[in-house]
Assembly symmetry: C2
């Protein structure tokens, strides 16, 4: 149980390009929100839906590094991986993203950490793929559950730390 | 001087998404064309326009690796860098690409090496960005000179090796 306030997450399909934009505010400064994305011990505590376990296999979050994690649900494992194109402290992470079950599907993701003042942060994540079918399939996959529940766990983590 | 045949390169702007497709055939099997993209000593011998020098600073061409090179023209240096999302031998390279002079512009590139038979290969490179303005700026930048001249040097390299 926690009394942390959970803000609304906006998930928007771009009208012109095959991109999804996810916008969320946090009651913590960019340095703390950024750190929760960079430190694998912190990432493992908030990423993804509530009912899944996360096993981080590698999380070398620096420009030119790479990452891989496994979601575990009911004995099944789902692995995801990518590389970190650029890691600009407290400002920007650009990375690639693939679910290994569909290895030819690759998304280019940009996470921008924006100062809102009063110790708050707006995090905007864009996810770009090479077709509208792929983008719309991603939107229809139930991804909002993992996004919303993950960010609620992140709210709680930020409030405690 | 060389008598190598140089095939035509097709450079096509996708009508639906901000992507450029570059298609080129080579008179060598996929293994050789692939190796010329993976081995930095070979890459340095063909990549880019004829009148530029290339200095490869790093070229760790494996899944999760990264790369950086510098073009030198008339004393000026232009640096490019990215990470290798996936390297699937003789088949596929997925990488990111940024010109450091415009560090927020990132392209997601896929290089597919396709067997044509008779010892030939079709290489298809797609370059995806997040806006049509960015894609059309890339097309208008004179990039076809570097692509065409680079692939002519690659023809020569493949014919000699």
């Amino acid at each position: 149980m926690t009394s942390t306030t959970h803000r609304e997450t906006q998930i928007v399909a771009d009208p012109d390009v095959p991109l999804v934009r996810i916008i969320r505010e946090f009651d913590a400064p960019p340095e703390k929100v950024y750190r929760a994305h960079v430190d694998p011990e912190l990432v493992a505590r908030w990423m993804g839906p509530k009912d899944l376990q996360v096993r981080i296999e590698s999380w070398d979050c620096r420009t030119g590094g790479s990452w891989r994690f496994v979601n575990i649900a009911g004995g099944e494992e789902y692995a995801f991986r990518g590389c970190f194109h650029e890691v600009r402290p407290n400002e920007l992470i650009v990375q690639t993203f693939t679910w290994e079950g569909m290895p030819d599907g690759v998304a280019l993701e940009k996470l921008s950490f924006e100062v809102l003042g009063n110790g708050r942060t707006r995090l905007t994540t864009t996810s770009l793929v090479d077709s509208f079918e792929g983008r719309d399939g991603f939107l229809a996959s139930g991804m909002e559950v993992g996004v919303n529940e993950g960010y609620e766990k992140l709210d709680d983590l930020l409030a405690r730390s």
